[in-house]
């Protein structure tokens, strides 16, 4: 067992984990964060996506011990201020949510994109979610939602500035 210290969704967190435990297991089983899903266990579907230092990783392929000293974000972070993030609003408005199983992972990949690139074009958006499979939506409304959210986020930062 090891104790890992990480920032989880903005909060400093300490937790004991097994050496052979995946971050996916830690989040779901120890911390009860079931928004992070298991879809395949081998890093081939994307439903387990989390942000590690704001970059998307597959938590099913990440040893829990690797989270030590890192900043980990799950979809809960997006609405941690009590208000839906523009991405979440946009997903709802654009019909980007069908069965919802891929949704948390998609939102995180999209969030990471907007941190890197405030004005993504269609190709940037496609590439940002190219590691998240969806069997329901055909991706199009998800991409529309991300584009719309990017516009809103730009307006927001302009208003703040």
């Amino acid at each position: 067992m090891k104790t890992i210290n990480l920032i989880l969704n903005g909060k400093e967190t300490s937790i004991e984990v097994e050496d052979n435990e995946t971050l996916l297991t830690t989040l779901r089983e120890r911390l009860g964060i079931t928004s992070v899903k298991e879809g395949c266990g081998i890093g081939e579907c994307g439903t387990c996506t989390v942000l590690v230092d704001d970059e998307p990783h597959y938590s099913c392929l990440t040893l829990a011990s690797k989270a030590n000293g890192r900043d980990i974000k799950t979809v809960e972070y997006l609405s941690s201020s009590g208000v839906l993030h523009p991405l979440q609003e946009a997903f709802i408005k654009s019909g980007a949510v069908q069965c919802g199983y891929c949704t948390p992972g998609m939102l995180l990949s999209a969030y990471s994109l907007l941190l890197r690139n405030a004005d993504p074009d269609a190709h940037d958006i496609k590439e940002a979610i190219s590691g998240n499979l969806c069997r329901c939506t055909g991706y199009i409304q998800i991409e529309e939602a991300i584009k719309n959210a990017a516009e809103i986020c730009k307006c927001n930062t302009q208003n703040e500035g």
Binding site: D19, N20, I42, L61, L63, G131
Partner: protein, 278 residues
């Protein structure tokens, strides 16, 4: 469910080498994108040594007209790294094609090499840049050429007590360089064929042609006969046709005729034509 193992997270290369030497049955983990899948399928070890965060294994430096790449550099970083983009374009392109964004954020060049898949995208570009691996164990450091290090599909001559710490490549400037691959879907797929190329030409003459072909033979290889044939040759249809013929012969010599060649050889022919014509 992963088998039981203990993990150690060394902070320095020396610590890593010390662990490597003292532990009974250790496996080195960097990004984990290959090893975690293997362990889920039942591969056992007593310990994993996590080297992903060791600063000495990171970074891309230029020294003595060579470029040194830390083994723990991720594919994502390498695909965007200015030095690589400018001096080893095929490697930057290949790294940008491996897996998915998440895999590229996690996986490392060291891991890609050590796994030594016949389809590893980083290997053909490294071959045309005459890559040399630095392997370290406690008290010992040796260098070995990449083509010698890979002995069989998924098998390298890296000792289980050795750490791949860096890869050295020769920069290529003034070359038309790139990486072409085919896969069963647009992204996030194993390459069914990969061609790294760097071509220096002058008007209608080939000066230096470097090629490496992956996912075709048991190990990615450089068709030396083709490169020799083209060096200094006039650039015309007949020469290109002959070069391709020789390439296909070299492949058949290495592997015989595999069922997949009904697909791969005609495709390779077409890709080489496009690549050589430019």
């Amino acid at each position: 469910m992963l088998p039981k193992f203990a993990s150690v997270i060394p902070r320095t290369k020396d610590e890593a080498l010390s662990w490597l030497s003292s532990l009974e049955n250790p496996k080195i983990i960097a990004g984990g994108t290959d090893l975690m899948v293997k362990m889920r399928a039942g591969k056992h070890c007593s310990h994993v040594i996590d080297v992903a965060g060791i600063p000495e294994l990171m970074g891309v430096t230029e020294e003595d007209a060579k470029i040194s790449i830390g083994a723990a550099m991720t594919h994502a970083r390498l695909s965007a790294e200015g030095t690589i983009v400018r001096n080893a374009r095929s490697l930057a392109l290949a790294c940008g094609l491996i897996g998915s964004p998440q895999i590229r954020n996690m996986g490392t060049i060291g891991g890609n090499l050590a796994n030594a898949s016949p389809a590893a995208d980083s290997i053909p570009p490294l071959l045309i840049h005459d890559a040399i691996l630095t392997l370290e164990s406690q008290g010992l450091r040796r260098k070995v050429a990449l083509e010698e290090a890979i002995v069989a599909p998924y098998v390298t001559s890296i000792d289980r007590k050795e750490l791949l710490s860096s890869v050295e490549i020769n920069p290529l400037r003034g070359y038309r360089e790139g990486y072409r691959r085919v896969a069963k879907r647009a992204t996030w797929a194993i390459s069914r064929l990969g061609v790294a190329f760097a071509i220096k030409e002058d008007g209608n003459r080939f000066i230096d042609v470097r090629l490496a072909i992956g996912s075709c033979t048991p190990m990615p290889f450089r068709p030396g006969k083709v490169e020799n044939l083209l060096a200094g040759s006039e650039k015309n249809d007949a020469v290109i046709a002959e070069a391709i013929r020789v390439a296909l012969e070299e492949i058949k010599f290495i592997s015989g005729i595999r069922p997949s060649y009904a697909y791969k050889l005609p495709v390779l022919k077409g890709i080489l034509e496009e690549v050589l014509r430019g």
